[in-house]
């Protein structure tokens, strides 16, 4: 399907950590071709015909699971969804038990979402299938960072030299970690903006510069990436209240005015309107990339499946 196939030197996609800029560029280039395929009336190819892809979700996520499911189906694979949170875990089965059970069924790709950091890595050591991390705890969410990069690259034509502000709950965000790793690898400048209680220590060592107010944090940026703040973190343990959070860290038209005039707005979803983002901004079709991100998500996941599935032997 693509020139990059066979040149992607990784068996699994467990994180952005460990990917070179060439690896990332390969994924984005392949994904670009799938964007076109997905806009045709006939969206289906036969690349993964006969392959079994398992969506193994230990944590609920409708949008990511749907995106992977669609990606697998559009490539002609057989996709099975397993929501483990409601089955085996309740019966006391461990992560490794589940992995070994699944492995015996000979899947080709395991797509894993788990609430604990490092779970995807642990699983990858126990199975023969390629493992794709669809989000592990507060560690990484590599396909989100790749789809964000594709969205930016298609709109801005490049990643290198751009300044990206990632705003909000950095502490609990796997999206922020993957994005910082990817964007700095690709030569973009990354800022994180949030209250000190939501910025993890040592984040500057990952290459991000830290800001605690929107005014200086958004000054002159090309991209404003908002993160979701979960309700239970706004009740006084990390942040005093939603009202105070929106006052200081909500993305309003006023706050956005500090960024470059053509700055784009991104959000991994689902949004808390009126908490981290004002509806007026979220729904601004000229600036908001939020729906583009969803579209790029399917293309990026197709590209990752493409690159990780070894070509079938004996012709196809």
């Amino acid at each position: 399907m693509s020139a990059a196939r066979g040149t992607f030197p990784h068996r699994h996609l467990l994180g952005i950590n460990g990917l070179s800029s060439a690896d990332i560029t390969s994924v984005l280039d392949v994904a670009d071709s799938y964007v076109e395929q997905n806009r045709r009336a006939d969206k289906r190819s036969a690349l993964l015909r006969g392959r079994t892809i398992v969506n193994l979700f230990f944590e609920d996520s409708t949008r990511t699971r749907t995106s992977f499911e669609l990606a697998g189906k559009r490539l002609g694979g057989d996709v099975i969804n397993m929501s483990v949170s409601t089955s085996s875990v309740k019966k006391g089965e461990t992560l490794i038990d589940t992995a070994m059970t699944l492995n015996a069924m000979h899947p080709d790709v395991l797509i894993v979402r788990h609430q604990e950091s490092g779970a995807a890595m642990l699983l990858s050591t126990k199975v023969d299938a390629a493992v794709i991390n669809a989000g592990d705890g507060t560690h990484e969410h590599p396909t989100q960072a790749l789809l964000d990069a594709l969205t930016i690259r298609r709109r801005k034509g490049k990643l290198a030299g751009l300044t990206v502000a990632i705003c909000g709950d950095i502490l609990h965000s796997r999206v922020a970690r993957s994005n910082i790793l990817l964007l700095t690898t690709m030569g973009a400048k990354v800022r994180v903006v949030g209250p000190p209680t939501l910025v993890p220590s040592g984040i500057d060592k990952l290459g991000a510069s830290v800001f605690h107010d929107m005014k200086s944090g958004l000054d002159g940026v090309d991209i404003v990436m908002m993160l979701r703040l979960q309700a239970e973190r706004m009740s006084g343990r990390f942040v005093p209240s939603p009202r105070e959070y929106f006052h200081f860290f909500g993305l309003t038209r006023e706050a956005l005015a500090l960024a470059k005039p053509d700055a784009l707005i991104m959000h991994p979803g689902p949004m808390n309107r009126g908490v981290e983002i004002d509806s007026e901004v979220a729904d601004d079709v000229g600036r908001s990339m939020i729906l583009d991100q969803v579209e790029m998500g399917v293309a990026v996941r197709m590209a990752v499946l493409d690159l990780l599935c070894p070509p079938a032997t004996g012709g196809n």
């Binding site: 000190p196 006084g236 343990r237 942040v239 209240s241 105070e244």
Partner: protein, 427 residues
């Protein structure tokens, strides 16, 4: 209107000025000061007759019962007591009822202070909602609405995780977290300093390490977060030593204490005198000396009144049932001058602990100093006048002073706020 304070010993710790001279006040502002200042024609002249004229005191720790406990103290009565004590600006703690943990609370204080129009009134915002120690209050919104600092008042912020988050969260807003450093589980049920005297009196004790353990913990958290921290009413030698070490290491830490902790000891409790029941408790003589030495060398930045008014009914009880605290506004300057008379420290240094230093801690950079163009907030006092404290004469609504009948040297003659005389001594 122009007033000239002539023939005064001008004392300004901020500039180091200590010289005979004149201050000219026009309206609310100092328009001239120094040794060779001409008195403008038509000015009212106040002949200071060689008495000391210094910046008005800035009291950074005052408990007022309004709203909620008006039987103890109101903003009006506290303001009169402050004026009598030479205090021209004060910051009230948030443990009112309701607690000052939102913008409306701050606006109430500001409005009452405007109506009373005596001394300048500032307010702390609660560090945690309802001062309950569980969740952060809206620190950012409180800072924007004028809160000078954050504190849970007489309650210790005990949860180390919450303290860490408070220090971190408040950092961008540039306001300190002010702590009552007392480990609550160690202090629980305690009535006075732990030791021989508590044992003789049959009262349960609060060990000195209740202060130092909490303080040591907080100083580590300051190091971790880079936050701004202020330790209130330091009472122990160990506490002073910890602060001295923290400052030597360059931590952004300040501290205050109050006159009982450098003038009295647990012995002053005598036969269960409830007026000497304080929080933190009066300690032993080594602690007292260490606190005085800490003030002298600047380890303790500020002297506050730590005014905690309590009605008679709350003190006329068996010791264990009596409320803790002492009224301190009326006597702040006179008691603090003991440090000068007993040669613990020079006059300008003592005044700095009462004026410039607390103003700086609260971010009130215009207050606590004498400057042309600055507000005419002044205290005129007789450094040597000897008198005996009579708690019944206090302007404070509550008369609970452990210093009733105590001989002091130094007396406030006049207090001026924004050019208005708000207090004049009789005679």
């Amino acid at each position: 209107m122009t007033t000239a304070f002539t023939n005064a010993r001008l004392l300004d710790p901020a500039s180091g000025l200590d010289a005979l001279g004149t201050i000219v006040v026009h309206g609310e502002t100092i328009t001239a000061l120094g040794a060779n200042v001409a008195v403008p024609a038509g000015a009212d002249i106040v002949d200071c007759k060689g008495a000391c004229l210094a910046p008005g005191l800035v009291d950074l720790r005052v408990t007022i019962g309004e709203p909620g406990f008006e039987e103890k103290e109101t903003i009006a009565s506290a303001s009169r007591a402050a004026a009598a004590g030479g205090v021209t600006a004060m910051a009230m703690l948030p443990n009112t009822d309701p607690v000052i943990d939102d913008v409306a609370g701050l606006e109430f204080v500001a409005r009452r202070a405007r109506e009373v129009k005596q001394v300048k009134m500032f307010a702390y915002g609660a560090a945690t909602r309802d001062c309950a120690g569980n969740e952060l209050a809206d620190l950012g919104l409180l800072a924007e609405a004028g809160a000078v600092a954050f504190s849970d008042g007489s309650r210790c912020i005990a949860d180390p995780q919450l303290m860490r988050r408070a220090l971190a969260y408040a950092r961008p807003f540039g306001r300190p977290i002010v702590q009552h450093a007392e480990e609550p589980r160690l202090a629980e049920g305690g009535q006075m300093n732990e030791g021989e005297i508590a044992t003789r009196l049959g009262l349960s004790g609060i060990p000195a390490c209740a202060e130092s353990i909490l303080l040591a913990r907080d100083l580590r958290l300051v190091e971790l977060t880079g936050g701004r921290y202020h330790a209130a009413h330091i009472s122990t030698a160990e506490g002073v030593a910890l602060l001295r070490e923290a400052k030597r290491r360059g931590l952004h830490v300040t501290a205050d204490t109050a006159p009982p902790y450098f003038l009295l000891t647990e012995r002053d409790i005598g036969d269960w005198r409830t007026f000497a029941k304080l929080s933190p408790p009066l300690r032993n003589d080594e602690d007292r000396k260490a606190v005085a030495a800490g003030i002298a060398d600047g380890t303790i930045d500020a002297i506050a009144s730590d005014h905690q008014p309590q009605p008679q009914d709350w003190k006329r009880l068996p010791f264990a049932q009596a409320a803790a605290g002492a009224a301190g506004l009326d006597t702040l300057l006179s008691l603090s001058l003991a440090l000068v008379h007993d040669k613990t420290m020079p006059l300008l240094d003592a005044l700095r602990r009462l004026t410039q230093a607390p103003a700086d801690i609260l971010g009130l950079k215009q207050l606590g100093r004498l400057a042309v163009g600055g507000p005419a907030d002044l205290v005129l006092f007789d450094l040597d006048a000897r008198w005996t404290i009579d708690a019944d004469s206090f302007r404070s609504k509550s008369k609970n002073s452990p210093f009733d009948g105590y001989d002091v040297r130094g007396r406030v003659l006049r207090t001026v706020v924004d050019g208005r005389t708000v207090f004049r001594a009789d005679g």
